[in-house]
């Protein structure tokens, strides 16, 4: 997710929004629109799509402030103001959700964020192109598997009959059930999350590394710098803007916390440590049909997420990097 966003950043914001001059009349404007009518037809299906599937649901947010009853419909359900928000605010579930979300995202940042950077730096040190290519081909692969497939692979791998436990047994450690019970679950999430995407995540850094001027390295060699010094004084500084950019983007999406993975891998015995906003919304909203309360929680997450993303964008813009919009 985060990686995907940066590739957009290079070009957007380049809109030379030259609209028709103010002095031109209405008829002139109409002529303009007529002139572009084919383009409008091309754009129309996309506009309709966004209207139906992204803008109409905005009206549905109103049920967060209503006691929604499915048989009466959204419009006729009675307004209740902030009742659901009050309920959420005073419930213990909410704090657990917030803590879980922040902890899981925090761990991902602390332990997961540096891994693709280190991996890219290591790959960059490999001179043999064939080795580099092979390593890339292997490590990119899990990125293309769904969390159902990858989660299934992992679950089998770490199950009491799986390889990890076999190895532990070799050291005389009794089998551990990693996925039942809350003890190991967050660590499993973070580690498997890293394992699935560290290779793919390195692409953006490799791209940044490949754009470093080779003359800088040559100059460093002339100055008598070794490999390590070159990495510290040439490679790392060149990488820093990208690192900063990715960090800000990841912080912008902190409330998502890797929903799909958690949705797939969690089970009732770990909800206490694994439940994040989206999984909770699904459970109480879809499974238990508490539509209003679920929408209220979803709205809270959406608003905070919006603020985070917009702020992240502001920071990136201020630092002089090209932004998404």
């Amino acid at each position: 997710m985060a990686v995907e966003h940066t590739s957009l950043m290079k070009t957007s914001g380049k809109s030379t929004g030259k609209l028709t001059g103010k002095s031109t009349g209405l008829s002139n404007k109409w002529r303009q629109i007529k002139k572009y009518r084919n383009l409008y037809w091309m754009l129309l299906p996309t506009l309709i799509y966004f209207f139906i599937f992204h803008y109409i649901p905005f009206a549905g947010i109103s049920i967060a402030f209503k006691d929604f009853q499915p048989f009466i419909g959204i419009a006729d359900s009675p307004w209740v103001g902030f009742k659901h928000f009050n309920m959420i605010y005073h419930s213990e579930d909410f704090y657990q959700l917030l803590v879980n979300t922040l902890l899981i995202s925090g761990y991902r940042l602390i332990f997961g964020f540096p891994v693709p950077i280190i991996f890219a730096l290591l790959l960059n040190e490999v001179r043999k192109q064939s080795v580099k290519k092979t390593v890339q081909t292997i490590t990119y692969f899990p990125h293309f598997l769904s969390w159902i497939v990858y989660g299934g692979l992992i679950l089998s791998f770490i199950s009491p009959a799986g390889i990890i436990n076999e190895i532990l047994k070799g050291f005389g450690i009794p089998a551990i059930d990693f996925v039942t019970g809350p003890d190991y679950f967050r660590s499993i999430l973070v580690i498997t999350g890293i394992l699935k995407d560290f290779g793919w995540g390195a692409i953006i850094y490799l791209a940044a590394l490949s754009s470093i001027d080779p003359q800088l390295y040559e100059a460093a060699t002339v100055d008598g710098s070794g490999r390590w010094k070159k990495m510290i004084h040439v490679t790392l500084p060149a990488l820093l803007p990208t690192v900063f950019l990715m960090l800000i983007i990841q912080i912008g999406y902190i409330l998502d916390a890797g929903f799909e993975q958690i949705f797939v891998m969690s089970n009732p015995t770990v909800y206490g440590v694994s439940d994040i906003f989206d999984t909770y919304v699904y459970r109480i909203g879809i499974e238990q049909a508490n539509f209003s309360e679920a929408t209220a929680i979803g709205l809270f997450k959406g608003v905070v997420g919006f603020i985070l993303i917009v702020s992240a964008n502001r920071i990136i813009k201020r630092s002089g990097e090209p932004t998404l919009w």
Partner: protein
Amino acid sequence: MVEQKNRFADFIIYSILAFACVATILPILHVFNLSLTSASEVHKSNLLLWPKEITFQAYKYLFSTNALVKSFYITAFITIVGTLLNLILTIAGAYALSKPELPGYKGFMVYIVIPMMFNAGMIPSYLLIKNMGLLNSLWALILTGAVSAFNLILMRNFIMGLPGSLEEAAKIDGCSEWTVLFRILIPISKPAIATIGLFYGVYHWNEFFLGVLYLSDSSKWPLQVLLRTIVFDNNMSNVAALNTLSTAGQAVEPANIQAASIIFAALPVLVVYPFLQRYFVKGMVLGAVKG
């Protein structure tokens, strides 16, 4: 001395990279072998990295149930129809949005970017699909993802980076935008279209949450959704359900079945992976063409 230090550094670097590769391959290899292991071997305590004897029992069983094959066709349908629709809307929309002189251009861009920053959330979307009567319809999965704002902007950036001279020449010859789109733009954008098509295709193939959300009728489940119940349902009641569907009637170990169905779902991705890798990496820099 320096030479020795260098060689030691290389040793460390290669070791770490080798470890990374092993860590990536091992879980896949484990499940692959598990899927080929005979039921009686599964519970024997030995490292299941290589099966003692290869058996296709689990796969035979899976294909005898029909459920998995049927869900494979459902996913194939969604992937093909969905990707086609994606490409039509994305290419046409991106072409229109590659013209900043289009009256209303800025408004359209804002209109498309807003949902990227703030969406209404799961429940309002669910209620919309419900009110449209699309619950338990495959079209719910196809239509809700008809255009991705991300891919739309990616494609637009690519088109903006193309030289405009061809288009101008065609316009002078009196060609309409439609002719330009079909005769010029699509032919010269083939690599970009392939990349975006693969983005969409992989999305449809791997998508499961929309299926979980909108399809309660298990006869309409795509592969990933079926796989979820086979692999993650704790009490295995659904494997029992699969069992009753089986015509083979032999006892099969759940762990075998789970492994075989995981491999079955991963196989198509593995087959197209060489293309995926090439085009996806290209796609990562696609947006930056006009930097």
